[in-house]
């Protein structure tokens, strides 16, 4: 009998509390979509903010609120997009995975310096003073991009130019927004050919500032229409091209990543020597082909292949 009283007391209080809570949960009911939690689960969870939302949960809410009508998560790529689409019950849109590319090869020995700077420790500050190089579009090499990179994919090597390691890059795009001179571009992951110059100055100015600047000579566009020249600088829009086309560039601005990693192309002396040798070979071949073609009165050599 005596054991019953405490049991009753506890049960009674519990029932009262339970009923009160049930009542109040009606009064203060706030609807919440369970899909938000599912979506958050499906997202990479890097909370990098590259999508424009403040973290993955925010992005999930945005997805739910606009029923998927927001830019895809740049980090998660195709697989995440599929999961998101499954949860939301919408069709999968194709996501192009991208990686960052620093469009500059103007290392210290190639790009002219511009005065000496003191008291400057990062790109944002240096940009206010006009930058350490004569070229105002080139990488300043002070590494702001590297500090924001969540995967430490960007390093400034000895030459004073930041280089992205495509293997580490998750394509979040934070470096692009950080770079004060817009020297970094997101390029499709599969692209093999890159124009490593960002100078939108006219040819004369670019040439005075840097040995490896794009002077918009249009020689590359003649080789392959995937090259386009706009605002005084060339860009490659396709996926790949004949590696030899790159040798057409008089200032060695174009790299084919099947032949040379971007890093080696910019930093390694050896790769440079190899490149020079190959380029000379290519030029010889082209000259020979032209000589061979001339008697036949062919108007044009199609693409420099023998």
């Amino acid at each position: 009998m005596s054991i019953l009283i405490p049991i009753l007391v506890l049960t009674g209080v519990g029932v009262v509390a339970g009923l009160a809570l049930a009542f109040f949960s009606r009064v203060f009911y706030v609807p919440e979509d369970p899909r938000v939690d599912q979506l958050e689960e499906a997202l990479p969870g890097a909370n990098c903010g590259a999508c424009g939302f403040a973290g993955c949960r925010d992005y999930a809410k945005g997805l739910v609120a606009r029923n998927g009508d927001v830019p895809p998560c740049p980090v998660g790529g195709q697989s995440t997009a599929e999961k998101v689409a499954a949860i939301l019950g919408i069709a999968v849109s194709d996501v192009e995975e991208k990686v960052a590319l620093v469009r500059c090869a103007g290392t210290r020995d190639r790009a002219a310096a511009r005065g000496s700077m003191v008291g400057v420790r990062d790109c944002a500050a240096a940009a206010l003073l006009g930058g350490p190089k004569s070229c105002r579009f080139g990488c300043m090499g002070l590494g702001d991009c590297g500090t924001v990179c969540p995967t430490k994919a960007i390093t400034v090597y000895g030459g004073g130019v930041a280089v992205v390691d495509p293997a580490l890059c998750i394509g979040c795009g934070l470096c692009v927004s950080k770079c004060p001179i817009d020297c970094i571009e997101m390029v499709p992951k599969g692209r093999r050919v890159h124009v490593l110059c960002n100078s939108r100055d006219p040819a004369l100015v670019t040439r005075a500032a840097c040995k490896v600047g794009c002077i918009a000579c249009n020689l590359c566009t003649k080789k392959d229409p995937s090259f386009v020249v706009a605002s005084n600088v060339a860009a490659f829009t396709g996926t790949t091209c004949d590696p030899e086309f790159c040798f057409a560039c008089p200032n060695d601005v174009i790299v084919h990543t099947d032949r040379y990693e971007v890093l080696a192309f910019i930093e390694s002396e050896e790769a440079r020597t190899d490149y020079e040798a190959e380029k000379n070979e290519f030029k010889e071949k082209e000259k020979a082909a032209r000589a061979a073609a001339r008697p036949a009165r062919e108007p044009k050599n199609a693409g420099g292949q023998p």
Binding site: V9, L10, V13, G14, A17, L21, F28, Y29
Partner: protein, 192 residues
């Protein structure tokens, strides 16, 4: 005068966080921003006064007459848990931003030992209803004071070049330790 002394005692000398070391979880958890610390303080203030009132009443109307004093811990926990659920619902409805900011720490008030501590303490010390209210209220104010001071310091430490190993909880605990040292100065201020 006696109530004033009790208030000072509850707020400063016997500060829940800094001299009784109760409620450390929210103290470390929601002290990163002043605004959330303020919200947490308010929630704790509300729950603490309410919980103390309810538990005190239950104790003296139900347990004492039935000689079930030994049930108080489990009963108090039950009551506090329900109250926290209630606060959570109210807050989610009325202030979603604060609800988001407090996050997991809001339900954790349930296990905030400060609440249970105050409820049991006021029984142990044999306070009457008025003293119990004053004790709970100023105990919560002391909790809020410590939390706000701490949040201010942590906001300031955001700009500090702390060594990696001390960032976060490590330095927070050291700050809490020093604060606690400083609160030792109040010892002996009020006898009892």
């Amino acid at each position: 005068m006696e109530l004033l002394l009790l208030a000072i005692n509850a707020m400063l000398i016997g500060n829940l966080i800094l001299s009784k070391f109760l409620g450390i979880c929210p103290f470390l958890g929601v002290s990163r921003r002043l605004s959330t610390a303020l919200g947490m303080s308010m929630a704790v203030l509300f729950v603490m006064v309410l919980a103390s009132t309810v538990t005190w009443t239950l104790f003296y109307t139900l347990l004492r007459p039935l000689h079930l004093e030994y049930l108080r811990t489990i009963l108090f926990i039950l009551v506090i848990a329900s109250l926290v659920q209630l606060v959570e619902m109210v807050m989610q409805k009325l202030s979603p931003a604060l609800y988001e900011a407090l996050g997991i720490y809001l339900p954790l008030i349930t296990t905030n030992c400060a609440i249970l501590g105050v409820a049991i303490d006021s029984i142990d010390k044999g306070y009457d209803f008025l003293h119990m209210i004053v004790y709970a209220f100023f105990g919560a104010v002391g909790f809020a004071l410590a939390l706000l001071l701490f949040a201010g310091i942590r906001e300031r430490l955001e700009t500090a070049d702390m060594p990696k190993s001390f960032q976060g909880a490590a330095s927070s605990l050291i700050v809490a330790g020093i604060l606690s040292l400083a609160f030792m100065g109040f010892s002996g201020l009020v006898p009892g």
